[in-house]
Amino acid sequence: MDYHFIFIQLFNGLILGSIYVLLSLGLTVVFGTLGVVNFAHGALYMLGAYTAYSIVTLLNLHFIVAILLCPIIVGVIGILLERFLISKLYKLPHFYTLLLTFGIMFFIQDAIKIIYGPEGEPFNIPKFLDGAVNLGFVVYPKYRLFIILITGFLAIGVWIFIGKTKLGAIIRAGTDDSETADALGINISRTFTLVFGMGAALAGLAGVIAAPTQDVQPLMGMNFLVETFVVVIIGGMGSIGGSILAGLIIGELVTLGIIFWPPMSTTLIYIFMAVVLIVKPRGFWGRAAFFE
């Protein structure tokens, strides 16, 4: 047993875990508040990567600009989608938004393919984050450390926002009991729009951050879509802490699977989910599920 090596792999599992955390944060917030199963989440992630590509490569701006701008751009797209399409279906059973977001996903992915071409775009690690750092136990790529750090900040940020700010309280109120909140004078529809925009922005940010490490192509969101849902379910719908914890655990679980039995590594996720749900029916800290 090479413990040193296993430790390096586990440390590396934090990267995968971070991507899962970033993606599932956006999804769980939307899930928990609006009850919307957003299949287009992966497509929004991909849009984040593509806007980053456009900003950095086509417009020749700095990567930092992309990190700041892209989430805003994708967030706005999300807001538009919510305003004009998704909100019209709130009164219907939740299955319909499922269908709608599915259609949106197809549309966005193919539109990008038509505009940019199917082969993908090159996106390399920005120069100032390139290279490796000696952490003592391993020489580790700087950029991947960056991913872990940013995810950490973001996770804490979202937690504080939802948990401790007034706006966050409004969102939580809307989630728990939208009718009462509405009766108390809170503008629910505006809150929902905001939350969806936030979820989209988080997905877009995940896309920007992941872009240098992956193949930027129109279907890149599909790689993560199902697993992100699984993470959200394990953590519990609507629970931010749950998403963070579940994301990290899943990242490590997959990595462990790779060490010990590679073919099984993705299946492990599903087994783990089945086990969790049997023991804790709503995930770690989930609230009453929609569709119940």
């Binding site: 199963v37 399409l85 019209k88 279906l89 219907l92 299955f95 319909y96 499922l98 269908l99 709608l100 599915f102 259609g103 949106i104 996903m105 197809f106 549309f107 966005i108 992915q109 193919d110 539109a111 393919k113 038509i114 199902v226 849902f229 699984v230 379910i233 719908m237 073919p263 099984m264 993705t266 299946t267 599903y270 087994i271 989910m273 089945a274 749900l277 049997i278 029916p281 709503r282 995930g283 989930g286 599920a289 929609f290 569709f291 119940e292």
Partner: protein, 310 residues
């Protein structure tokens, strides 16, 4: 739901005519057969989903089980096709019991995810067990043994063979829905607490409904194996499960005829679109968006309701 008026009689005649002519209308006969196969699958799925409220993301498991069981029996056991299909149906229904039992304890989206998990596990097993299933090459060489004088190698003959099962399934489906059992399912879907208070055991009803839908899925799978002469691993995939959810939703859940027409329309459209353009996912996506925004309850359900208003 079904009031026997003279309208119904004419609708049935027209529908029969339509199905009898279908293989000659579609671009190729295999497409018509495929449409029926998925119609059976979707109809069965609607019993669990539309009538009982069980949203399953893992129904491809039963479709695939039926397909592989039927395929393997035909290859290794040299038995007549109907018997092989029976085997497929039995196996998928049997496996539905434990899967259903474990999943039904959970509700709503959590239930959906557990079914998804089981389907993924089955996919993994089929993928790894290459010596049995062919892995991701799929199971090749599924024969079509003749039934007495009828040679099933002809696509037309196979279509009518499948049509026979389709009609049987529809009749069976309608009887289930209209029976007291079916009514109880609807009652459960609307308000489970109340049903429980009257004395019904929701778990048992849900489980039976789940198994019934698996029965139809397995039947569809077995017919699919015959149709394709091979079983692709794709039959067990999440995409297939997703497709059936979409077909049911688009058609209009909780109607039986809605998912049937939804399935047929979707299969046909996918084929048509992919023949004429490379950007067919774009059109398909657009189609979903438009149809959901305009036909809120599902295309065919809304069409029927609007037509009835005349």
């Amino acid at each position: 739901m079904k009031i026997f008026s003279k309208y119904t009689f004419w609708i049935i005649i027209l529908a029969l005519l339509f199905f009898l002519c279908l293989p000659f209308i579609t671009p190729y006969k295999g497409l018509a057969s495929q449409m029926l196969v998925f119609a059976i699958f979707a109809m069965g799925y609607d019993i669990a989903f539309g009538y009982t409220g069980l949203l399953s993301f893992g129904h491809a498991a039963f479709f695939g089980l039926g397909a592989y069981s039927t395929g393997l029996s035909l290859i290794h056991l040299s038995i007549p096709a109907p018997l092989a299909i029976l085997i497929g149906v039995i196996i998928s229904s049997m496996i539905a019991f434990p899967i259903g039992y474990l999943s039904i304890r959970r509700r709503g989206i959590y239930f959906a995810m557990v079914t998804l998990a089981f389907a993924q596990m089955l996919y993994f097993i089929a993928f790894k067990w290459r010596s049995l299933t062919g892995g991701d090459d799929g199971l090749h060489g599924v024969p079509r043994p003749p039934i007495g004088p009828i040679n099933l190698s002809s696509e037309v003959a196979l279509y009518y063979f499948i049509l026979f099962f389709f009609i049987l399934s529809v009749i069976l489906g309608i009887r289930i829905i209209n029976s007291p059992f079916g009514k109880t399912l609807e009652c459960l879907r609307e308000n489970e607490q109340r049903a429980r208070s009257i004395g019904y055991n929701p778990t048992r009803f849900k489980l039976i409904s789940f198994v019934i839908s698996a029965f139809f899925a397995g039947l569809a799978g077995g017919l699919y194996a015959l149709l394709q002469n091979f079983v692709p691993l794709f039959s067990l995939s999440l995409d297939t499960s997703g497709d059936i959810v979409l077909m049911t939703l688009i058609g209009g859940m909780g109607t039986l005829y809605g998912p049937i027409m939804g399935a047929m329309a979707l299969i046909f459209l996918k084929d048509l679109l992919s023949t004429y353009t490379n950007i067919w996912p774009l059109f398909l996506g657009l189609l979903f968006v438009v149809s959901v925004m305009t036909f809120r309850k599902g295309v065919f359900k809304e069409l029927k309701e609007r037509l009835l208003k005349f």
